[in-house]
Point group: C2
Chain length 383, copies 2
């Protein structure tokens, strides 16, 4: 089995002694007020979560990522990390110029040296990345609303965003790698989630854990859709789950500060590549990973991995079928491991799960650990 | 993931039109009456289960297998497949001579061309293969009882052994490979067993099956120890288990006609290499695989795989920890996936399981599927 990725991370933090000078410089530069998506992208770039990227994509990289899922150097990259600005602002910026990036409250995060500014075809990006041009798709909607011009160039980071909840669980890739090394884990499986962990997900994680040394439970806590369960409630539910049902010395809970793009297959590749940066050797890809609505086929996010070799990805995807509790099997099983028909299966739609939780109705203990259900019900009641 | 091994098998069956002439020749040759172990070895050689071997090891191969786990051509091989005869018989045979191999009832199986006859150090073989010289070890006992001289040479097979039970499940490697190909399974995990399949074993098989296309449940039905449960009772229990709890289109039950050697780590490698010949891409190695008594460390049969690369073995071992039902987890789990202490775990020793079955006392349904328990109890009662 392959061991943990040891590529050095390309941080884009400026040296501490240059910070003051840069901050001084920034005050005199044109300012860009970042969207929530761009704020989380700056954090991802800063901490090395999206290595090898160290800045926003320039045009040639952007074009090749959109059409071929590769950077111009041939490396696999599936999601364009871009800095969109509106036309008016773009017109005021010259290529070669330095621009300050700030949060809406004025907090300056970084300076970007604008190597290129270029227009782009939003409909083509939508088709290629989201497989639809429909504005009902939340990723497409965001794309259509963003600026018409992209600025490409390297980042010099002065400060991380102000609003970074879960700091005690917000480990950077260098930190998760150090943790894995200290634990002596040679193989680590990453689990991406933006939902509560029900028993079917626990099963997938533990199936993988039977074959690797450690599990990184790595919930995404950046921007998600309104109907998703809030990150703080989810975090509380993950903690109670781990405390009661997972061996502490095989598991690490840390957060992934990315926003959801709902790009399905493309985002599955992105999620896997990011987790490689965090030190994972394996990554779980379930059904309809990073999907939304009916925009992607159930297994599209698994099949897309067939386009790349292990050498290209550097992380092994673990693909799973639909899992559920089966009354006859008396266990969580999948359509690959259970012969019984649907009448024996305990399955709830996401909508029904949310309805029950919001109504304070417990889910069966075969579906959700009771402690987890209680935290979710209590957490949603408080909102 | 690697796909199914497609190396052509080297059968040693003679062509049908030469069979009569060989049988005629055999009647005039010196005869060797084979032991049960040698009879099963002839079958393994004939069907290609121990490819690349096509006969009994000559001296240079024997020496290198014993000392280095390799054939003289460098290929990994861990168990010497030899033809031992006693001194008196050996003295009557010249190198280059042809000898007929027969079952005790006179049924002629094959002709071997004796390229070499050589003596060997049984104590060294015991130390190297079984890691002990103690005669209490069943493999060592058999070794000490066998002949003092080994005959090495290629085999021309006239007929397979007469006593081959479970013919409808006795698929040859070519047949299992065809079955996998017909099913479209690109990845297949093999599970070796000489015991009933309790829920903890079912769990291991299904954990593996979550990640591969098919499962070959491949019980060993050659000679085992007296206290092991008879193969016909076990086979009946496997069938009722598969019928009730496994998806038919993901599972194949077939038998492995080898005898047990109880060589632990060495036999784990042997079992994996044989399953590669049957077309498996993965092979489950649990705790104390092929062990007996306390001769091997719990994980020795897993650690031995570290000595070889995937390219050398051609099959991926899947290593598992001790698994058991946990009342708090409400699931089968392992020491890697369960945080609870022993008081929550449902564990019975093999001795206790056999005692209960022989006494007609059912095992808990979390330990053994009720249908399986009933078949075992009924089967043992009849004996």
């Amino acid at each position: 089995m392959q061991s943990i990725n040891s590529t050095p991370l390309t941080g884009v933090f400026v040296a501490p002694d240059q910070r003051e000078a840069l901050l001084q410089e920034a005050t005199s530069l044109p300012r860009i007020v970042l969207s929530p998506l761009s704020i989380s992208d700056v954090e991802l770039l800063t901490i090395g979560a999206v290595a090898p990227l160290t800045g926003f994509l320039a045009q040639a990289d952007y074009e090749r990522v959109v059409t071929e899922m590769r950077l111009t150097n041939g490396q696999v990259w599936s999601i364009p990390i871009t800095l969109p600005v509106d036309r008016e602002l773009a017109n005021s910026i010259k290529e070669g110029q330095r621009v300050a990036l700030q949060e809406p409250d004025g907090h300056i995060l970084a300076i970007v040296t604008v190597h290129e500014k270029f227009t782009y075809d939003k409909h083509r990006e939508a088709r290629e990345i989201f497989r639809t041009e429909e504005e009902k798709h939340p990723g497409v909607a965001r794309l259509y609303q963003q600026g018409e011009v992209l600025l490409g160039g390297p980042l010099e980071v002065i400060d991380l965003p102000r609003n970074r909840p879960f700091m005690e669980h917000r480990l950077m890739p260098t930190e998760t790698r150090q943790y894995f090394a200290k634990k002596g884990w040679k193989t680590v499986v990453g689990f991406q989630t933006r939902n509560p962990v029900h028993r079917s997900h626990e099963y997938l994680q533990k199936v993988a854990l039977e074959m690797v040394d450690g599990l990184l439970l790595h919930p995404l806590v950046g921007e998600t859709q309104v109907e998703d369960i809030p990150a703080d409630v989810r975090m509380a539910s993950y903690k109670v789950l781990l405390d009661n049902y997972y061996p502490a010395d095989r598991t690490l809970l840390s957060v992934f500060p990315a926003a959801m793009r709902y790009a399905g297959p493309r985002e599955a590749i992105f999620h896997a590549l990011c987790r490689k940066n965090y030190g994972c050797t394996h990554f779980i890809v379930g059904r309809d990973h990073a999907g939304v609505g009916n925009y992607y086929g159930t297994y599209d996010a698994q099949r897309i991995f067939d386009n790349f070799t292990y050498a290209e990805l550097g992380i092994t995807p673990l693909m799973f079928e639909h899992t559920f509790y089966c009354k006859k099997c008396e266990a969580i099983v999948s359509s690959k491991t259970c012969p019984h028909d649907k009448s024996s299966h305990l399955v709830f739609s996401g909508t029904e799960v949310r309805r029950r939780l919001r109504a304070g109705e417990p889910l069966p203990h075969e579906f959700t650990r009771p402690e987890v259900g209680q935290v979710l019900i209590d957490g949603l009641r408080e909102k």
